[in-house]
Amino acid sequence: MKSRTIKVDYLARVEGEGALYVKISDNKVKDVKFKIWEPPRLFEAFLRGRNYSEAPDITARICGICPIAYQMSSAHAMEAAFGVTVDPQVRALRRLIYCGEWIESHPLHVYLLHAPDFLGYENAIQAAQDHPEIVQRGLQLKKVGNDLMAFLGGREIHPINIRVGGFYKVPTKQGFAPFIEKLKWARDAALETVRWTATLPFPDFEQDYEFVALRHPDEYAITEGRLVSNKGLDIAISEYDDHFVEEHVAHANALRSTHKGRGAYHVGPLARYNLNFDKLSPLAQQAARDAGFGPVCRNPFKSIVVRSVETVYACDEALRIIDQYEMPEKPAVEVQPRAATGHGCTEAPRGILYHRYRLDAQGVILDAKIVAPTSQNQKCIESDLWQFVPKYIDLPTEELTWRCEQAIRNYDPCISCATHFLKLHIERD
């Protein structure tokens, strides 16, 4: 019996560190483990006993790439617990800074982490030697997102301006003037990114996923909405725990989420796109159609194009919000703590980020639960590999290993959110 094991101890170009292990025996896949290391729930323990107002700043430190997502999910959870509604302009500003995070995060993955796979380079540094102008475009595009986050958030990494009830400070309308030209440039660069990524070679690989994302009646959902899926899910975010469960698996320190009745589900750009294509701006929809994409895309490798379409949308939406912005009278509303449980769920660049807090009458956190997008995609990543490896099983081990890494990177896994470290590991004897 011929058997082999593919091991990748260190997964390159994913956020954090993880490992993949694939066991092949008799030319059949026998085992797939996507491993995540590190004690997972330390931040939750860290939050217990802290004041509600500290949650946005503490949770922002979980991830350097998507701090806004953590701040928003935690602030929304607290506001839901205390029955607070923010000013409509404050809500718009939150959506705007979230657009900044998408503009910052998506090009980082598209240009520096994912594209080298399709272009046949080991990394972006090699790619930059042959295509410096393409890598520069990615860096500049990302910088527009950074600048927007820094302007609204106080600074781009771990922004400090977001609080429960609103912001500490809000800008004047005039303050946005320098961003209009930058965002117009970024929108054009994002359109160019869609055209460019659509020309990349994609493996023929479609899966019948259960896509889960927020959906909002009036907008491409980012900060709020109901949780829906293409398999019948339609719930308020406060019902999340009734439908999804986290299971501890022996090979991963992170908890792995599944839908209680149906198992693996897929969150992130591809899920949002499939569930909310009709809510994208006309420009973003047109960019997708011009690139040969309809409202349905089930090939995870094509998520690089979908991220690019979402970047077009984020630029477009940011310009719309700035155009309609009027400075609110107050940057935040008063918050009166009460004993309650609050839920928050927002669309981080990599998918839904769910927070739940139980608070006492003084607003002290009694219990916290945080479910990051990567731990929700973990099972989906493994099931992709179960399907994907047999298609390429005759490839030499080195090439098959690289293909598997590429399949994992489709999800832009942020293991530093799910945990801290991730290693990848494939093995054939």
């Binding site: 956020e15 954090g16 520096l112 972006a124």
Partner: protein, 165 residues
């Protein structure tokens, strides 16, 4: 906001809530007090592309970060980025796929390295979630503060090759 052309910039990298990973931030905070007024000091997470943005226009840049190479906790390494490539695995403990070493090598390819770039790596002991440095790393932080102040006062004749300790 980038420093004026020709300026000196110190960047401390790390995560405050990851124990010894915060050492770069600790050094930066000490240097904010101790460094001459014209020296700009920043704290960052270590996300690589943001680093490249930060040092635009600076003449001399000194980076301080925690590392995990298997050396003794608190061991200090000093690299001159123009003297040698930065070993990516050395700064492996960054949570970022595109971290410090990648940023330096990408900037080298794109012609965006500052004219002088010194990198200090401080060997961490623990990177688990939590506050506070290990005693060995706390001591190393003090040493690096002194050495950076030495670099600043001798800025005109920084060595062209790395000095390893």
């Amino acid at each position: 906001m980038p420093p004026a052309k020709g300026g000196t910039l110190i960047i401390g990298l790390g995560n405050q809530y990851r124990r010894d990973d915060a050492v770069g931030l600790t050094v930066a905070r000490h240097l904010k007090e101790a460094a001459p007024a014209h020296v700009r000091v920043l704290e960052e997470s270590g996300e690589g592309t943001a680093l490249i943005d930060s040092w635009q226009g600076a003449d001399t840049v000194i980076l301080i970060d925690a590392v995990h190479s298997g050396a003794k906790p608190g061991a200090v390494r000093r690299f001159d980025a123009h003297g040698q490539p930065i070993p990516t695995r050395f700064f492996h403990y960054s949570t970022h796929a595109f971290g410090v070493a990648e940023a330096i090598e990408l900037a080298r390819v794109l012609g965006q390295l500052p004219p002088r770039l010194i990198v200090y790596g401080i060997e961490g002991k623990t990177f688990e979630a939590g506050l506070g440095l290990s005693p060995e790393v706390e001591k190393a932080a003090q040493e690096v503060v002194e050495r950076v102040l030495g670099d600043l006062c001798c800025n005109h004749h920084l060595p062209g090759v790395s000095v390893l300790i």
